[in-house]
Amino acid sequence: MRKQKDEPIDMLQGTLDLLILRTLLFGPIHGHAIAKSIERTSQDVLRVDHGSLYPALQRLERRGSITAEWGTSENNRRARYYRLTAAGRKQLTAETGKWECLTEAIARILNPNREGA
């Protein structure tokens, strides 16, 4: 995967990918719906520029984690639908595991007294 020189920090790039993959877990949806889903499910905590989704979608498609094809949306308009592949599913599991590991570790550092949290 190519690293763009003037991109935001690595972690955000990886996190966005993770969120997109998770959103696709339950079936194909189009770009706009992905944006809305992320906003809604995070209860508006995560506000992502909708625009930044599209490079991420290209990146995932190039990696082979998702596929894209044109379809018809709810209101009979054209839309590009993205779907998770088997490789994408694997990547999702792997990345989720890493994320949880990471957050656990950070939590332990921030709260050293709380054992086995």
């Binding site: 706009h32 930044s52 290209q58 082979g64």
Partner: protein, 925 residues
């Protein structure tokens, strides 16, 4: 597989237009959906649109970042850079042209020499699986010749270091020994040796040709197939087998029109009938890249042909101390050269030990098995060192050219400061800019390289012509094959990076604000450099140093050539036509052959325009000499002074214009049956009769049995003349009339015709006379004496000419570079000079100021150049003649030329500086 989906993705995105349309559509639809949502939330249409756009963020950024994933960034940027670079180059056609031509010359010359080296060092034999071939050699300490196990030898023995010698010739019993004891390591062992020049009569025409004696397994060992008929088999190599010959492809075409019609024909080799069994495949030239045989005959036919050298008697095949046969072998699969050597070395050692007496055992040869893939070494030995020297010279020129171009680019970089500043301020990374500038340089170098390849094609032909030396059998055939072209491309790439890197680094080190504001050249010079010397100055210094190297080399070579050309020959070389006839090979025998030659000489002498004619049994220059024992009767031959014999016809001394100092020359009085006489050279008299009158004394000419030694009387003393080699002291020569039988029977005769005017005008008349006398005898080796002497100095001539040409070229490039740099310096410092002059500086002082810098640069260049020249000239020592490599005269001369050239180059800018009008200069600031 991830790379598979990545590949599919990239392929999909190859159609950029469609991909862009889709992305644009997708984003538009996204915006519409968001807008509709916001409208549903209660916003007005305009507010909804605005909100949607705000939520999205920058469409341009999203599109740009998405697009970035559609290809390989590096490749796309490279393509961009190439486009841009090409445009920039076309904008400055003058600059581009100069650089491309310079590079084409430099890269082309290097490519040409590299192709020679490839053909010389790397080209394998055109046989199957050449890497499994091995050549058998031996190596022995080179002691006194008397204690060598080689009692008689026919072939090459060469020096391999200060105290060893090496060779490829073996006795026939050694061949049998290897054959019977190598079944474990070799699948085939075969032997061969050259026939030398012979008379080949085919279809009624007689011509000189040369071939190879080969053992029965030769063609099987080399694993080649005939292109017509069949090749030689072991059954042909028997004493009473019918005499067959295999022709080379080119030779069969030349003599018979086409290869298919050759098999079955009969030819005469030295009057012995052979039948053509077949034709070798095209491109096959045997095992020695230095010689392409015209024909191949079975080994045992040497008993029929009975030529000089090799074997011509059945006893020679049994002799254990007569070395004459060369061998090669094919290794069994899986066997390495070292294994074979380990297996056979002791076997050979045991054998050769048994053939030696006690003294000879101290210097036994030991077997060596060497790589055979590239064939025999002869050509390599002759040409590799000279080619390395030439390669060094052209590499130096390329280096000078690169330094020059780098300087040019540095100047241009300063002119492009504004452009760089703009791009840097717009966010381009410095690395990106450097990459772009380097791409430009490499593009320039590639164009130069491509044109250079065209130039190389011409250069190869030119060099082949120079090296071939007029000989028809020059076998080095360089070509521009893939490896050479690959080397040329690598060279172009390297060159581009070399001259482009420093200017690229410098150009991008720009102070953005001042550059944008357009501040003038009042800027301090480059910030790159070593201490107080700028990069540009360092490059000029480098060029000057390298030019000095080339001037010194050229000086040494030119002096060598001039020394050679002024060697005293002892005879007059002008207007002399030489040619050789070999009547014996055409069938003439004693005593009639002598009459034949004498008659011909008389007829040659009678040609109108020919002042006089004479003959010798051996060429005087260029073919070594015939040496033998010819000491005065009663005296021992002086050790270390070999005597050289030359049989001549009458009028020899007057034709060659060798003064006779005492007594008389050999002339018509000397006939078969009359008193057996000789004329000796001055050197001979000094050796044997230092304070005696030699006239009337007798010499004993010793000859091999069955001939007995011969007694001759000295009737004259001739001035010293060159016989054999041009270099060294004059030799002790004994001249004998060829018709008295005082030495060995004559075979071939070289005639010399002193003509009035161009000797070559008489060639046709000569050919006609010989044809009328006997059409079976070909006229060979036709040339003027002057041309023949030049041929012996061919290498020195090439070095002198090329060396001088290269040195002039290098100096020219360096001076152009110096001129450019100084002109630029002056232009840059116009303001400063203007102020100085306004404050009262004289014109002369300004000129001196500029020249001072010029001389300072030259001084540094010389300081670096002189020691390197002294060090490097050691490597060419073996090519020099009567010139010491560190000869001070040459050095001083080279330095003088360099300084004058430098002065010339620097004077023009200096004068321009002095002409600066102070008013305009100050205002310019």
């Amino acid at each position: 597989m991830r790379w598979w989906s990545e590949l599919k993705y990239l392929v999909r995105k190859l159609n950029r237009k469609r991909a862009e349309q889709e992305l644009e559509e997708e984003i538009r639809l996204h915006m519409e959906m968001e807008t509709r949502e916001k409208i549903a939330d209660g916003l007005s249409w305009e507010e909804a649109q605005y909100a949607a756009r705000r939520a999205f963020g920058s469409v341009a950024l999203a599109t740009e970042d998405s697009r970035a994933w559609w290809g390989f960034r590096i490749l796309e940027e490279l393509w961009q850079d190439l486009h841009y670079g090409a445009r920039m180059l076309m904008k400055q056609p003058g600059f581009t042209l100069v650089v491309v031509v310079t590079l084409a010359l430099g890269i082309g010359a290097n490519t040409a020499i590299l192709s020679f080296m490839d053909s010389l060092l790397l080209r394998s034999l055109p046989v199957s699986d050449p890497t499994s071939l091995g050549v058998l050699n031996w190596r022995a300490p080179s002691g006194s010749g008397r204690d060598s196990v080689i009692h008689r030898g026919s072939g090459n023995i060469w020096r391999d270091g200060p105290s060893t010698r090496m060779s490829g010739i073996f006795p026939y019993p050694a061949f049998e020994l290897i054959r019977t004891n190598s079944a474990a390591v070799f699948s085939t062992v075969f032997a061969y040796y050259p026939t030398g020049n012979v008379n080949v009569m085919a279809k009624g025409q007689a011509e000189l040709g040369s071939g190879e004696f080969v053992s029965g397994d030769y063609f099987r060992g080399l694993a080649v197939l005939p292109s017509a008929g069949r090749l030689i088999i072991p059954d042909d190599d028997r004493v009473d087998a019918p005499a067959v010959a295999v022709l080379s492809y080119a030779y069969s075409q030349r003599r018979f029109g086409d290869a298919a019609s050759a098999p079955g024909q009969s030819i005469l080799i030295n009057n012995i009938p052979f039948s053509v069994a077949g034709v070798a495949p095209p491109g096959f030239f045997g095992v020695d890249p230095a010689a392409a045989p015209d024909f191949y005959v079975p080994l045992r036919t040497n008993l029929l042909l009975r030529l000089r050298g090799g074997a011509n008697d059945p006893k020679d095949y049994l002799e254990q101390n007569y070395y004459w046969l060369e061998m090669m072998a094919r290794l069994r699969p899986g066997v390495s050269l070292s294994q074979a050597q380990a297996a056979l070395g002791p076997v050979f050692h045991q054998w050769v030990n048994a053939t030696a007496n006690d003294r000879e055992r101290a210097q036994l040869p030991e077997l060596m098995i060497r790589e055979g893939a590239t064939g025999l070494d002869t050509l390599r030995r002759q040409y590799s060192k000279p080619l390395y020297v030439l390669l060094a010279l052209v590499a130096l020129i390329l280096a000078i050219a690169c330094a020059n171009i780098a300087n040019l680019l540095l100047t241009r970089a300063t002119a492009r400061r504004r452009e760089m500043a703009v791009r840097l301020s717009m966010g381009a990374g410095r690395l990106r800019l450097i990459r772009q500038l380097l791409t430009e340089s490499v593009l320039l170098a590639s164009i130069g390289g491509a044109v250079g390849v065209l130039f190389a094609m011409w250069a190869i032909r030119f060099l082949t012509f120079l090296l071939a030396n007029g000989g028809e059998d020059f076998t080095l055939r360089p070509e521009l094959n893939w490896s050479v072209l690959g080397a040329a491309s690598a060279l172009a790439l390297l060159t581009g990076i070399l001259f482009g890197l420093a200017p690229a680094l410098q150009a991008t080190r720009v102070d953005v604000i001042p550059a944008l504001k357009g501040a003038q050249a009042g800027q301090p010079g480059s910030r790159y450099g070593f201490g107080r010397i700028s990069l540009s100055q360092a490059l000029v210094v480098t060029q000057i140093g390298l030019s000095l190297l080339m001037l010194v080399a050229a000086g040494l070579f030119v002096r060598t050539l001039s020394n050679l050309q002024s060697i005293q020959l002892g005879f007059n070389r002008e207007d002399l036509l030489l040619f050789t006839l070999n009547a014996r090979q055409a069938g003439h025998k004693d005593p009639e052959i002598i009459t034949f030659y004498s008659e011909l000489q008389k007829r040659f002498g009678a040609i109108p325009g020919v002042r006089s004619a004479s003959s010798t049994h051996h060429q005087m220059i260029g073919q070594g000499t015939e040496s033998g024992d010819a000491a005065p009767v009663g005296k021992q031959p002086k050790p270390g002074f070999s005597t050289h014999i030359l049989m001549t016809g009458p009028d020899f001394f007057s034709t060659m214009q060798i003064p006779v100092l005492l007594g008389r020359a050999l002339d018509d009085r000397d006939r078969p049956g009359s008193l057996a006489v000789a004329v000796v050279s001055e050197a001979y008299v000094k050796t044997y009769f230092p304070d005696q009158n030699p006239l009337g004394q007798h010499i004993s000419i010793s000859r091999r049995p069955p001939l007995k030694d011969r007694d001759v009387e000295i009737v004259g003393v001739a001035a010293n003349a060159r016989y054999g080699d041009l270099k060294g002291a004059f030799r002790d020569i004994v001249y004998l009339p060829f018709n008295q039988g005082s030495y060995y029977p004559v075979d071939e005769m070289t005639f010399a015709l002193r003509s009035s005017g161009d000797p070559l005008r008489y060639v046709n008349t000569v050919r006609e006379i010989v044809r009328q006398a006997d059409p079976r005898v070909p006229v060979t080796d036709v040339k003027t004496q002057a041309a023949q002497i030049d041929q012996t100095m061919n290498q020195e001539i090439i070095f002198a000419r090329l060396g001088a040409a290269f040195a002039v070229l290098a100096l020219l490039i360096a001076c152009v570079g110096l001129y450019g740099t100084m002109a630029y310096t002056v232009a840059r410092r116009t303001g400063e000079i203007g102020i100085r002059m306004a404050l009262g500086a004289q014109r002369g002082a300004v000129v001196w100021m500029v020249l001072r810098e010029v001389f300072a640069l030259a001084a540094v260049g010389l300081a670096a150049g002189v020691p390197s020249a002294l060090g490097a000239s050691r490597f060419v020592e073996s090519f020099l003649f009567e010139v010491k490599p560190n000869s001070p005269a040459t050095l001083v001369f080279a330095v003088a030329i360099l300084l004058s050239a430098v002065l010339l180059a620097g004077y023009a800018p200096a004068r321009k500086a002095s002409r600066i009008d102070p008013m305009t200069a100050v205002r310019h600031e």
